[in-house]
Point group: C2
Chain length 331, copies 2
Amino acid sequence: MAGPPDEFAIIAELFAPLAAGFPGALGLRDDAAVLAAEPGFDTVVTMDAMVAGVHFLADDPPDLVARKLVRVNLSDLAAKGAEPFAVLLAAAFPRGIDDSWLRRFAAGLAEDVRHFGIALIGGDTVATPGPLTLTLTALGRIAAGRALLRSAARPGDTVWVSGTIGDGALGLSAARKEMAAAAADVEFLADRYRLPQPRVGLGPRLVGLAHAAMDVSDGLVQDLGHLCAASGVAAVIAAERVPLSPPARRAIAANHSLLATALTGGDDYEVLITAPAAAAAGIAALAGATGVAMTPIGHIEAGAGVKVIDGAGAAMPLDRGGWRHFTGDRM
Amino acid sequence: MAGPPDEFAIIAELFAPLAAGFPGALGLRDDAAVLAAEPGFDTVVTMDAMVAGVHFLADDPPDLVARKLVRVNLSDLAAKGAEPFAVLLAAAFPRGIDDSWLRRFAAGLAEDVRHFGIALIGGDTVATPGPLTLTLTALGRIAAGRALLRSAARPGDTVWVSGTIGDGALGLSAARKEMAAAAADVEFLADRYRLPQPRVGLGPRLVGLAHAAMDVSDGLVQDLGHLCAASGVAAVIAAERVPLSPPARRAIAANHSLLATALTGGDDYEVLITAPAAAAAGIAALAGATGVAMTPIGHIEAGAGVKVIDGAGAAMPLDRGGWRHFTGDRM
């Protein structure tokens, strides 16, 4: 299709098929979507924005941009214990964007809509003289009153984290070719940056085991700090217990300063929880059931703030807690 | 506060108070918000984006920008018959934005949150090297299965529209000083452009009276065309029956080409409905009950497309149907 893409044609051809199977999406042909009442279930809603050049690289493949957008939002739902069922997309497209880019973007969106069993049920497409700006609203369901909150940590809880930490932040360096590492390690880390794996299978199974939960997106130390602040408690974690992937471990071995990057950088999209000792066996068993490792990294105590202890038992100085200045926080 | 504003400080100080009274907003300190199950009610959800320089003027007062953002979304909910209860805001702020601008923006948001009895329950704040880009997700409730849809128009229905048409499009010209008119008229029209009046009191009362409904935001003729397409019907409307405000009437008398602007320009945020003849008395009575005029402007018949008839009974040629090219449509 030559010339500037037409928004209605794009919605009808590329996006409307992603609404299939969700009657309340009204085929993306109405002003709004309708979520039918589901007695006994609460709806969990989250909304995250990404800007080209800020949250993803402007030359990232469009299908991966779409999938990252979906995944960062589903990560928030997973950390609340909710099962995702729908998303709405607001896209501000630069006028120069072409049909091929849009088709690849829509193909990535379609892939993840299928992969996660969700539907695209609404949104908005607008023009911008600025960079591509994408905002997603994601909706999930959870049994009434059971959502996992940041504010429920209690002294004595163990702090656990899913998967591995630091791959996203190291992956950004790797994708920018700022890191000397083997090609396979660069590829692994860059892929972890570009395509997060939201813990949608794990999150709902943490309900009943975890006290508090959140997703790690702005950096482990900063996010744990938010969880502590919301709960009115302190946390102590051991740096050497924080789970690292083999490529991250090799990168840090080659340049020890990257440990701080791993602990404070963003883009992990893992789940951080606190849980009582009695839940330990159940949490450990989830690894087998979901294929996602769960690692205890510290504990909650009375007080405020987060202390990170190094291998010698000393507090590590960390000069930044993570993303700030309008760059990544979720309300 | 000097220096670049801190996102967490902004959220805590300026936005968190707007979550008061909505426990599921979790004080804007969590990854997501929780909507408690409400048996017997569906949730209606819509999402609209606005870009500085595209959807509002870059030097528009920040409080009015915030209020317009809220109102264009509430207009979508009203047109579905839903009562708004919450919004989520994703804001991409240019790095140069200052504390004073943000405070005035938040004050406008607070004013409309109070005015409409809703809560701010979540969202995201990010930085952008481009223009201010604002996206709102709005949530409303309606009795299960009763949402008003675009797709329910039937041949024989009367086409009605609320309020007056064209003020927004003429107001944009007036705000840009492109129109010769009395100062009071310029002020009235520009105000209608900057501060839409979503028909939140009217919309829910149309349930049970209207067949189809939508909000008029991209231009009356284009939007009626969408309604007809979604319903598989045609519409015929009489240009001279389309309700105009006195300032719009004077502007069109001075320059008749502005009639087409009024009929096809955007930013009306009125409600367009189709309804059977039996509902006419009930609809007319709503004007008294809500203070918003309801005017019959034409009818639905079998076929496709929209025909606009002039005072002599001839079809008016309208060279554009309304906003296109990524500039204003809602999915």
